[in-house]
């Protein structure tokens, strides 16, 4: 059975993948997904910590993070759709009217 360290390493790897994806991909939707990946990596380590500490509060916190992530996506997609009406593209390099 995997120990706590393995879980934390796995979640750190997932978090890192999410962060790298966020920084390198140019598609706004994929960037959303990368943020979700980061949040869920955090959830994984939270569940692991709560399990190994035998502390129920950690498990409860995961639900709060789910709720926040869902609310975040709702707002983010709404903004993206509103912007898509103007630009007709989800490539963030096209959103270039504001710079320097």
């Amino acid at each position: 059975m995997a120990g706590l360290t393995e879980y934390v390493i796995l979640s750190a790897i997932l978090f890192g993948l999410g962060a790298i994806g966020f920084l390198t991909r140019r598609n706004a939707l994929i960037m959303f997904m990368c943020i979700e990946l980061m949040l869920n990596a955090v959830n994984l380590s939270l569940v692991a910590f709560a399990h190994f500490r035998v502390d129920l509060s950690g498990q409860v916190l995961v639900l709060f993070i789910f709720a926040v992530a869902a609310a975040e996506v709702a707002v983010g997609l709404a903004i993206l759709i509103a912007l898509f009406r103007h630009v007709k593209d989800v490539d963030i390099t096209e959103y270039n009217l504001l710079k320097w």
Binding site: F15, A19, I35, I92, L98
Partner: protein
């Protein structure tokens, strides 16, 4: 200290009264917005706007009368109320009141009659004051998101304007990225200590090997998450775009309230969760906490560089801007750098100076953005330096006001901006950061150049094109004049506010 987590309505009211008022009024306004039709869209807009303002004024009254007079730190699970929080809550509510009154005029100018604006503002203010009061790391994350979601929507409020949406999307993406870092840091700390309450974290950490890499990584990630919100270099990339794209009044609100809240929480997290401000209180467990000061060896050098970069970068790039809103965005990055100096000093004068600075900065910044919306007429109609040429003689009142606010931001006496900068730099020198303070003063000289350039454009140049603005409403004029008077008053007689700010920061060291 004995942490009582008992619950009673009376306690809820005395600790979180302002939050309760904002949340309930937001929900009530939701129904008012649905069922109240009003005689004309303009009437409806101003009714809802004024109701929001009244709710915030009630909350502010509650904070000043009741919560300020609690002479102890009161906990209720996730929230605490002591003078430090009360001060910041008051600053946020003040920013909210100014923003909502200015918004009525702004929305009428732009012929936008969608009243959900004020609901979003009310909920954003609710999230911001809950964020300031939170002592529980998870609650810090959740309220940060409540605040940010409201602000993302407000930033995108000009639905037909591509720049507004573009700024908002950038803010959303980078903001969520930053808060994911904050969350990971929180979870690592939870994993190490088994606690998420700041006070308990510090007492657990003080007895543990707190220089463990996991704690350091967690500390770094929490700092990064908050720095995204404060817009410190190198986590500032979103700020100029968002400040330029958003409606001017929203820009004013997020440049002040959000930044004030994030800096307050930054101080709280560093001082209460990871720091030794507690040596004064005389209780044995707090002496152990003094050891936590060793963590300062890790975060202080980093903050030193970040403070320096923030001041230099903000001021240097601002020189190159033609758009006044964007210039003020870079200037607000620079102001964050000055405030970082006060955090870095981490002595009584530094924390007091930061609180004073935040108060003064809030007034002058919202005032400046208020004038910008007035001179603009419709959004993006006239907001470049070229548009401002020669306006000084055509609109003497507004030009005088914006000149005053800009002079205050440049930190020239006798304005509140000067006093704020004075305390922050003095605190840094007292803590031995002489070089950083000297470089900071150098950057603020650069700052004076681009602030005064706007004044120069207003009065010394001939206009290149005709700018005509709609009349300024009475309420807007009252707010702007009140802000101007406050800036001058605090510059001449700062004693009252410095005493209040000092009392506020003392509660951090005495009672936690």
């Amino acid at each position: 200290m004995d942490l009582q987590y008992s619950f009673s309505l009376a306690k809820l009211w005395s600790i979180c009264g302002a939050q309760v008022i904002m949340l309930l009024s937001g929900l009530v306004l939701l129904f008012v917005e649905i069922f109240y039709k009003g005689k004309s869209p303009e009437r409806r807009l101003s009714t809802i706007g004024w109701l929001t303002t009244i709710a915030m004024a009630l909350a502010l009254g509650h904070v000043c009368n009741k919560e300020w007079n609690l002479d102890e730190v009161v906990f209720m699970g996730a929230f605490s109320m002591e003078k430090f929080s009360a001060f910041l809550v008051a600053v946020v509510l003040m920013a909210g009141i100014m923003a909502s009154i200015l918004s009525i005029g702004y929305l009428k100018n732009n012929k936008i009659y969608r009243t959900e604006y004020f609901l979003l503002l009310a909920f954003a203010v609710y999230g911001t004051i809950a964020f300031v009061q939170a002592v529980d790391l998870l609650m810090i994350f959740i309220t940060l998101e409540i605040m940010s979601l409201g602000i993302y929507c407000l930033a995108a409020f000009l639905r037909d304007d591509r720049l507004s949406l573009e700024g908002s999307l950038k803010y959303f993406l980078i903001g969520s990225f930053g808060s994911a870092f904050l969350l990971f840091g929180i979870v690592l700390i939870y994993g190490f200590t088994g606690e998420i309450n700041l006070t308990k974290i510090s007492s657990v950490l003080a007895r543990a090997p707190f220089q463990h890499p996991m704690v350091l990584v967690a500390l770094a990630m929490i700092m990064v998450g908050l720095m995204f919100k404060i817009s410190m270099v190198p986590f500032h990339m979103w700020a100029p775009d968002v400040y330029e794209g958003s409606p001017s009044v929203v820009t004013g609100f997020m440049a002040t309230a959000v930044k004030a809240a994030a800096i307050g929480v930054f101080i709280k997290v560093m001082a209460v969760g990871f720091g030794p401000v507690l040596s004064l209180s005389g209780q044995p467990e707090f002496y152990a906490n003094a050891l936590l000061g060793a963590l300062g060896a890790y975060w202080k050098p980093i903050l030193w560089w970040i403070s320096l970069l923030t001041m230099f970068f903000g001021n240097l790039i601002a020189v190159n801007q033609r758009n006044v809103k964007r210039m003020l965005a870079y200037s607000s990055i620079a102001h964050a750098g000055y405030m970082t100096l006060g955090i870095l000093a981490s002595n009584d004068m530094g924390r007091m100076g930061v609180l004073f600075y935040l108060f003064a900065y809030t007034i002058m910044n919202i005032g400046a953005f208020g004038v910008i919306y007035c001179l603009d007429g419709q959004e993006r109609h006239a907001q470049t330096l070229e548009d401002y040429r020669g306006l000084g003689y055509k609109y003497p009142g507004l030009s005088f006001l914006i000149s005053l606010f800009l002079v205050a931001m440049a930190g020239l006496p006798p304005t509140a901006g000067f006093i704020g900068k004075f305390y922050v730099f003095a605190a840094a020198i007292r803590s031995g950061y002489l070089l950083l303070a000297a470089l900071g003063i150098l950057t603020s000289v650069i700052g004076a150049y681009y602030y005064l350039r706007v004044v120069y454009m207003l009065y010394m140049k001939d206009p290149v094109r005709e700018i005509s603005i709609p009349g300024v409403s009475v309420s807007t004029a009252v707010i702007l004049i009140a802000a101007a008077l406050a800036v001058i008053y605090l510059g001449i007689l700062p004693q009252g506010l410095t005493d209040v700010a000092d009392a506020a920061q003392k509660t951090l060291s005495l009672v936690f």
